[in-house]
């Protein structure tokens, strides 16, 4: 692990975390740190364990072993609500949007504003807050009272990201925010990440597949291979070529192993 002085700035640390699903080991021995205001890119093959790691950090799944340290304190997440109360929120790959609910309801799902004493939903207030939040991060969605099923993939993604970054969360996990996005919509999300990075309030872990995007938007990059972090460098010190080489090498090794020692 890096020296102790650096730890004080870390908003999130993962130490020796492992997770098995029956016979499958999803995470072997994960060590990872996230500095305050940092954007960390997480790369890795399908099935390498990226999403499992995100789900553990979001409190959705529990690790078998290891520690998670949030803002200097070791925590064992009870559930999603617990992680959220500590400022950690996740945009899942499947977005966790409810098609039948409208934009406002999705924006405020599980953090509704209600009016006492009957705890009725404060619809007007939430609507105004939604409009304001979307305007602030520059997402144009003309009507907020339509079910999100009727919006485009990019708009849906934008809502999922927006609801996370406009909440009180200061540790944001983005699980493949660019998946299934057109070039223009992808650029919109990257702009949003860039905007947050400049602002420096939130720290972000972003899973992505495109090395160019990662090098462009992130401060540091980690590579996860077969349930372990095998690579950790500031983006300034690496390149598309280097990342490519590591991944291709992994593939070659796996292929050689599959073919056996005779090499035929």
């Amino acid at each position: 692990m890096p020296e102790a002085a650096e730890h004080r700035e870390d908003v999130l640390r993962v130490e020796h975390v492992s997770k098995r699903f029956g016979p499958v080991t999803a995470l072997r021995d994960i060590n990872l740190r996230l500095g305050k205001g940092e954007v960390l890119g997480l790369l890795g093959d399908n099935g390498a364990g990226k999403s499992t790691l995100m789900k553990i950090l979001a409190g959705f799944q529990k690790p078998d072993e290891g520690r998670v340290v949030v803002k200097g304190e070791e925590v064992v997440f009870r559930d999603v609500g617990h992680a959220r109360s500590l400022g950690i929120d996740c945009v899942y790959q499947d977005l966790a949007l409810v098609n039948e609910l409208d934009v406002v309801q999705n924006m405020f799902l599980k953090r509704e504003k209600v009016r006492r004493p009957l705890a009725l939903l404060a619809k007007r207030e939430m609507r105004a807050a939604t409009r304001e939040a979307l305007d602030e991060i520059g997402i144009n969605i003309p009507r907020l009272d339509v079910p999100v099923a009727r919006l485009s993939g990019g708009q849906r993604q934008a809502i999922a990201v927006a609801r996370t970054v406009t909440s009180d969360a200061d540790i944001v996990l983005l699980d493949e925010p660019l998946a299934a996005m057109g070039a223009k919509e992808g650029a919109m999300i990257l702009d949003l990440v860039q905007h947050l990075r400049e602002e420096g309030r939130v720290s972000i872990i972003m899973i992505a597949h495109n090395y160019v995007h990662v090098l462009q938007s992130c401060d540091r990059v980690n590579l996860i291979q077969a349930g372990e972090i095998t690579f950790d460098k500031p983006t300034a010190d690496t390149s598309v070529e280097e990342l490519n080489e590591i991944v291709v090498e992994e593939y070659r090794r796996a292929r050689r192993a599959a073919l056996g020692p005779t090499g035929n």
């Binding site: 979001a58 959705f60 559930d79 999603v80 609500g81 959220r84 996740c90 899942y92 499947d94 977005l95 966790a96 949007l97 409810v98 098609n99 039948e100 609910l101 309801q105 799902l109 599980k110 509704e112 209600v114 705890a119 009725l120 939903l121 619809k123």
Partner: protein, 343 residues
């Protein structure tokens, strides 16, 4: 018109208005106070059952056992009364029994992972059987709903002459009038249930989470919603309402017969009302007001056909056809609303 159709309840409103218009034209006795009162028991109990069912259907589940819970609860009411408890305690405890069956349905669905269709099919039969066992398959008089008949002298004015006649007048107690026997008792309860649950579904967290659980269960869990708690809660609510309607109907009739076949039919009518009202069997969408209108539509149809003197043998056949036609109109209007291009 366009504005009306954009409402989720728009299609059932159209269908119900068409039915009212048809029967008013073909039969001048349809729009009379007397007939409206006849209509009430055809629809008010089903409206209450249907709105409970909607809360479950929106959450992506279904409860077929409401028929048996509806039958079982008044017998429990009777048993508690036999044990010497006062009427309000009988009501409360029998409703707790109903709610417990709902909780059982919920637990088996979310923890044993059996589909609610199968679970509640089991409890439909099981609770129906239990009712036969505790009742000994014999009908009982509903406590608190005893009808007392007195002969009174009523003075009327006929052609300017005061004439006194002896008339038979029926009396029921205040408890019975409140819970089912009063002419408008069931209607008022139905409207109260509709108002409360409409508010719950559209304007509370509970309602939002219900839609979320039915629309995207995995996503709802990821967002931190306690999916199991919501499903169990809605099962409890649905069974509670079924038990309540069971008591209302037993009090209204002042007796209850352990008719398990009739109980299943009651359930099917309630589910039909919910579906006709625009709730999806697949979850995520449904409306409380729609279920009320669905029950009203079915009630009007039955009442109107009876009024027209349709042969009893033909009644169910025509009702079945009418439901299919109504659903076709419903779906067509729904497509217009969504603008999906199929219309």
């Amino acid at each position: 018109m366009r504005r009306l159709l954009t409402l989720r309840e728009g299609s059932i409103v159209v269908v119900t208005v068409l039915a009212i218009a048809y029967f008013s034209v073909v039969n001048d006795r349809f729009l009379t106070t007397a007939n409206m009162q006849t209509l009430l028991p055809y629809f008010a109990p089903f409206a209450i059952l249907a709105v409970g069912e909607v809360m479950l259907m929106v959450a992506g589940e279904i409860d077929l056992s409401i028929g048996s819970v509806y039958l079982f609860t008044p017998f429990m009411f009777y048993e508690f009364h036999q044990a010497g408890l006062p009427l309000w305690a009988d009501l409360l405890l029998s409703l707790v029994c109903a709610a417990l069956i709902g909780a059982l349905n919920g637990f088996l669905t979310v923890f044993a992972g059996i589909s609610s269709f199968i679970v509640t099919l089991g409890t439909l039969l099981g609770v129906g059987g239990l009712t036969l066992i505790i009742s000994g398959a014999a009908p009982v008089a509903m406590p608190g709903a005893e009808v007392r008949t007195t002969t009174e002298t009523v003075t009327k004015v006929v052609n300017g002459h005061h004439i006194s006649l002896q008339e038979q007048v029926n009396h029921v107690g205040g408890f019975a009038r409140l819970f089912g026997a009063g002419t408008y008792s069931e209607l008022i309860w139905a409207l109260v249930a509709v108002a409360c649950l409409h508010t719950v579904l559209t304007s509370t967290r509970w309602g939002m989470y219900t839609v979320a659980v039915g629309g995207n269960r995995h996503g709802a869990a990821e967002a931190g919603i306690k999916v199991r708690a919501i499903v169990i809660r809605n099962f409890v609510l649905c069974a509670f309402l079924a038990g309540f309607v069971g008591v209302l109907e037993a009090v209204r009739a002042s007796s209850v017969t352990p008719d398990t076949a009739g109980a299943a039919e009651t359930m099917f009518r309630a589910v039909s009302a919910a579906v006709i009202g625009g709730s999806l069997l697949t979850g995520g969408e449904g409306t409380i007001v729609g279920a009320l209108l669905g029950a009203l539509f079915l009630g009007i149809l039955r009442d109107g056909l009876v009024l027209e003197g349709v042969d009893a043998d033909y009644l169910d056949f025509i009702l079945g056809l009418a439901i299919l036609v109504a659903m076709c109109i419903n779906t067509y209007v729904g497509r217009v609303r969504k603008g999906s291009g199929y219309a």
